[in-house]
Each structure stands twice: as C-alpha cells, then as structure tokens.
C-alpha cells in the first residue's frame, strides 16, 4: 500500500469517517461510470456523431424514460465524482482552514446549481408530437 502511494501519489485508504466514505464513493461511482460513460461515448460518437445529433435526435431519445434515467445517472455520478475529485486536489493546495471551508462551500454550490440545471431539463422537457 505504502509502495503504491509512493509510486503513484494517490491518496492511501483513509482510516474512517467522511474521508473513507468519499474514498469509497469515488471508486464505486467510477465503476458505475465505466459502463455508463463508455456506453454514452459509443452511442454518441460511434453509432451516431456530433455531425448528426440535433434537437430531433434528443427528442426521439427522450421519448423513453429509460434514456432520461440513464442520463440522470451519468449526470449525478459524473458531477459528484468530479467535484469530490476536485475537492481532493484543492485540499493539496489549500491549507488555511477558512479558505478550505470557502472552497468546500463553493463546490457544494456549483454541484447543486449544475445538478439542478441538468436535472431540470431531464425531468421537465416535453416534446410536442410534431417536433
């Protein structure tokens, strides 16, 4: 374990509490996203392409709750995984207690705003039958 940390610089498994929970959460969300994101990339960049995806494409896709749920899972996993990862990076550079608390608060606000913005579209978007 020590050797792994020496060689790669990653955080060793914390002893307990919130750090241990976040340590596990990063890994659990990573495993979940390996399937979800590879699927997302395959659908958007291999089967389709950014040259053809448009409003019509999304409208078709969102007709089934399955894809809305799929996208909601990616949204929440990716956002939380990324912000927790960023929290770890900031902790390496910010040592002052007050600034750390400020950074933590900023991460929470950014997380809530972007989760809400993303979820708003997934939950509320309605397409008229003609569109």
């Amino acid at each position: 374990m020590r050797e792994a940390a020496f060689r790669t610089g990653y955080q060793e498994r914390p002893a307990g509490g919130l750090p241990l929970f976040l340590w596990f959460y990063i890994r659990v969300s990573a495993l979940a996203m390996i399937g979800l994101v590879i699927g997302h990339l395959y659908i958007m960049h291999v089967i389709n392409s950014t040259d053809t995806i448009d409003f019509q494409f999304v409208a078709q896709r969102f007709r089934t709750p399955f894809w809305r749920a799929y996208d909601l899972l990616i949204l929440l996993f990716a956002l939380s995984h990324g912000l927790i990862g960023l929290r770890g990076i900031l902790d390496d550079y910010i040592h002052h207690r007050g600034w750390r608390a400020a950074a933590e608060a900023a991460l929470w606000i950014v997380g809530i705003v972007f989760a809400a913005l993303g979820a708003l579209v997934l939950f509320t978007l309605q397409f008229s039958p003609g569109s």
Binding site: T8, F55, G118
Partner: protein, 118 residues
C-alpha cells in the same frame, strides 16, 4: 509531483484529465439545458460541435475520458490488491499499449472526416 517514474506521470495525467473532463461537463450541462429553450436555440448551440476546429478538442476529450477510466482501473487494482504494486510497471505499459490501440479507431472516427480519410 512528477519525478520521472511512470506512476508519477500517470498520477499527474489523472489530475489533468479529471479537471479537463469536469470543465467540459459544466459546458455540456449548460449546452444541454438549451434544449429547454427550444429546437432553434439548441441546434444553434451544438453547431459548435460541428466545426472543424472543435474535432481535435472532441478527440482530446474522448482520449482524456479513456485515460482517466483506464488509469482509474489500475488505481483500483492497486487499492484492493496491494501485491499488484509488484507488477505496476507491467500494468502501466500494457495499459499504455491498449490505450494507444483504442485511440486509433477513435481518431479515425472523429478526425477522419476532417483530414479527408472518410
């Protein structure tokens, strides 16, 4: 910080790709929220993705996601199987090889049209 070993290079790249993908995610959420403003607003927004200058960025984005995922798997193997540190270098180089092999078709799919290959 990076001191020359493959593990340290992987660690630095893991951070850089992680932050880069998170920054894209913010933009991606804002761009997707344009769906709520209707077809015209959304189609105008994603016009960015169709520009030739965006294709190398799209490639780098997929490359960053795949590196972060692959290196993350190696990190988890090290976490849950401490003896794996003995074969870390081998895992790193096999992973690097697989990574390059996967990137070739990705480059073809995303950049092929820009350079006139397909």
């Amino acid at each position: 910080m990076y001191r020359g070993s493959p593990g340290m290079l992987a660690w630095v790249l893991h951070r850089i790709t992680g932050v880069a993908v998170l920054l894209f995610l913010f933009g991606h959420i804002i761009e997707t929220s344009m769906l709520g403003l209707g077809p015209d607003a959304y189609n105008r927004t994603i016009e960015i993705y169709r520009q030739a200058w965006f294709k190398p960025i799209e490639f780098l984005l997929v490359a960053a996601v795949l590196f972060h995922a692959g290196n993350g798997l190696i990190v988890m193997i090290l976490d849950f199987w401490p003896n794996a540190t003995r074969v870390y270098r081998r895992m790193f180089w096999i992973g690097a090889g697989v990574y390059i092999l996967v990137l070739l078709p990705v480059a073809y799919l995303i950049l092929g049209k820009v350079v006139g290959l397909r």
